[in-house]
Amino acid sequence: MILQHYLKEVKKGDVSIKKTVKAILREAKTLNKKHHCFNIISEDLALSQAEKQEKEPKGRLAGLPISIKDCICVKDVESRAGSEILKDYVPPFNATVVKKLVDEGAIIIGKTSQDEFGFGSFSTNTDNIPKNPLDTERSCGGSSGGSACFTQLTKHPHASISESTGGSIANPASFCGISGLTPTYGLVSRYGLIDYANSLDKIGIMSKTTEELSPIFDVIKGHDKKDSTSLDISSNSNNEVKKIAIIKEAFEIDPKIKDIILSNLEDYDVISLPLTKKYAIPTYYLIAMAEASTNLAKYCGLRYGSTLPLKGSFNQFFSEVRSKYFTKEAKRRIILGTFARMAGFRDAYYLKAMKTRTLIINEYKKAFKKYDVLISPTMPILSPKFSEIKKLSPLENYQMDTLTTGPNIAGLPHLSVPTNSIGKLPVGTLLISNHLEEDKLLNFGRKIEEK
């Protein structure tokens, strides 16, 4: 409630916006040294916005500090999506979400660290790796690791705007012990989001508690004519949760995690989603990589971002720039994605994945005829140590997304709620609802948190 309380105080004039912003900037700089949660702290922008709001607080989020995942464009602030190829790239425009937040009086304090272009589950595929707020030997999760890290650590009113393609909000929310909402695909405009996989990318929110997500969600959702995939309908305001079910396959994991989650639930059915279990990961990675490999083509050193002296043919030049500045994981995804859409393989991979995606959506849709909310753990494991992550093969890495890829490929809203800890390491419960039923998630999430 710290967030809503602050917004009320601002309305009453009982609190200084400038003081709050200065304090959170100071805190961000200190924490960043140890935890690497920001790629850039936008001090000048935040202070000028605070100055303006202090004089005349305006909007539903007047004076509220917000951090933004690096892949979401903020005008005149370096936005590089965690990649070296976009180093020093300063967008000439604001993403629609950023515009909406600023129009409602929010203060943009910086860009949070992440896996390059969102490619990863541990925020380790980048040059600025965030460290877990509860144990710096461990990962924050990914790809929105920096957002989750700072959201957990800050003592000030704050929320973070992050983004999920295959689980990049729920995963770090779970590992850092905070609340993370991924809305229905298309409910929040993607305009200004540096693309990973356009048909999967969703902008969402992180905050310490589920309660604090709501005022931000109200501001950022809604139709945007600059994004063709933006939905022209509003979310369902009915938040009544009558029947819930746990997903059988999702609990075939560490019994300690299972017990913690189930101990918070009562009156649930058990349902089986076998197609999702079997096909979610391969479907997700095929579609995501195919799209990503086309999205990344534009980074070639010619128009913006990192470059090299012009030399040789344009093909040689492009290859040299891309070889130098992309991480290994980005190169892996470009190669796999390009392969999946090549002549002779297209039908077997990319087009088949598109069809499988429909099967998975239908499997969920059937479950939602009976249940309001489906429940699973967010992650199959607790946050791993960096030393353990190094030993994982790419395939083992991709398996980490086994529980989050399902709702992500189906475009379903989902919420990771912090649910006790094992030792100091937090566990997250994943709540999934039908399209546009975010209010059911927020309502039910609050109830779990209260326990």
Partner: protein, 448 residues
């Protein structure tokens, strides 16, 4: 011989296909570019509906089927003139298929974005992205042409249709490009990226002649060097799939409702083919004249207005044989001239009444395309009306006979041609306002 072509035509919408940048050309490079057509990270395309509507009109005019829904795809290849290193085009689901113009089948018509332009200057290459994102339609025919000449006739007709639909402006040669495939007795070869109507015909003629002498032994992709007038080998045949097409995930399915199609159908003006056959019937013109008059919308419009007041046959003759010639000679177009229809009617009316000569009409037409004025007043002011008063004419004839005794002598000795010379002299004296037949009659009478 079998020839098939793919024609890329720039549409003349106000703004680009996926952003709101203007399509007007600019002297300053990279000024009509925004975050979207410039391919900046985070920007997203939104379809400009006008481009699709123009495309549908073309498809309807080419008797094509319109899809009820259509998608866009990304065609991936690296090239400096592409801001995203993929082109947004249509692959599996074009908005239109199965059309026909005369006996040529049209396989598909789709919408796509134009890349930017590379400008080579000495050893450097500059890039201008003003053109990036200008809407193009690609029209793909079946290999139904039997000669380059058929292709030429088809393209002429196609341009006429596009201009009638007001979706195309022939501002430069670059607004139309084509790929062509051609096969004689050997394998099929493809000529890529030929710019301009004339070049398309030249390239095909060159390749057709070459193929007749030595048919291709394997499939080849050729380029066209317009300076040297020859084709050259580009690379071995690539299949379309190597572009790694995926559906563009930023653009959603576009539904084309039946009502929109019928609305667009109703907006299509009478096309030249229908118009020329109507002209033939309604105005009793010969086929050739009817086709010429219907070939350009403005010309057809002028003709129909004039034909309301003037004998259609006469109007057709003046428009085709004289006005078009004068326009050509002055290197202008029917759309640019200053001629006003009411003045043309006035002028041809006077001619029809026998009040002015052929020459006067021609002289005035030359002036009227430059600036509008009333022919009636001009003729009055400059005394250009035919001298029908025979007393006055007789006086001029007598003068001529007196001045040209040799010609008179020749005529008397049986040289019939000398009478024309004498007539010419009288015409000159009358500043062209005399009726030459009348003059001849008077001269013959006087000499005898």
């Amino acid at each position: 011989m079998k020839i098939g072509i793919e024609i890329h035509v720039q549409l003349n919408t106000k703004s680009k296909v996926f952003c709101s940048c203007t399509t007007q050309s600019s002297e300053e490079p990279n000024t009509n570019v925004c975050e979207i057509c410039g391919g900046f990270p985070g920007s997203k395309p939104v379809l400009n509906k006008e481009t699709l509507q123009q495309g549908i009109k073309v498809a309807l005019a080419l008797n094509s089927k319109i899809a009820s829904e259509t998608f866009f795809s990304r065609k991936s290849y690296f090239y400096p003139d592409m801001t995203k290193n993929f082109q947004i085009t249509q692959y599996e689901t074009p908005f239109s298929i199965n059309g026909k113009l005369d006996n040529i089948r049209i396989k598909r018509i789709h919408l796509e974005e134009d890349p930017g332009a590379l400008i080579h200057k000495g050893s450097t290459c500059l890039i201008d992205y003003n053109r990036a994102g200008i809407p193009l339609i690609e029209i793909v025919t079946e290999p139904d042409f039997k000669s380059p000449n058929e292709v030429r006739l088809f393209l002429r007709k196609l341009i006429t249709i596009l201009e009638y639909l007001e979706v195309y402006t022939r501002k430069s040669e670059a607004t139309m490009k084509a790929d062509a495939n051609i096969s004689t007795t050997g394998e099929k070869v493809e000529i890529k990226n030929i710019t301009g109507l004339k070049e398309i015909e030249r390239a095909l003629n060159y390749e057709a002649t070459k193929q007749k002498e030595t048919p291709a032994k394997k499939q080849e992709t050729l380029g066209w060097n317009s300076d040297k007038g020859i084709t050259y080998l580009m690379r071995t045949k690539e299949t379309e799939d190597d572009y790694g097409y995926i559906y563009d995930p930023d653009l959603v399915k576009i539904e084309i409702p039946k009502e929109l199609v019928s609305k667009l159908k109703s907006q299509i003006p009478e096309l030249s083919l229908d118009k020329s056959s109507r002209f033939k019937k309604q105005y009793k013109l010969n086929k050739e004249d009817a086709e010429v008059l219907a070939s350009e919308q403005k010309l057809a419009e002028i003709f129909e207005k004039v034909a309301e007041k003037i004998d259609p046959d006469l109007a057709a003759k003046w428009l085709i044989r004289d006005l078009l010639k004068i326009i050509n000679y002055n290197k202008t177009t029917i759309n640019e001239i200053k001629l006003e229809v009411k003045h043309l009617i006035e002028l041809l009316g006077l001619f029809q009444q026998g009040k002015i000569t052929d020459k006067t009409v021609k002289d005035l037409l030359i002036e009227l395309i430059k600036e509008p004025f009333s022919p009636k007043e001009y003729i009055k002011k400059h005394n250009l009306e035919i001298i029908s008063d025979s007393g006055n004419l007789e006086k001029l004839c007598k003068e001529a006979i007196k001045e040209q005794p040799k010609a008179v002598k020749d005529y008397k000795e049986g040289n019939e041609k000398s009478i024309y010379f004498l007539t010419g002299q009288v015409m000159r004296k009358s500043k062209g306002t005399a009726n030459p037949k009348e003059v001849e009659k008077i001269l013959k009478k006087l000499i005898r």
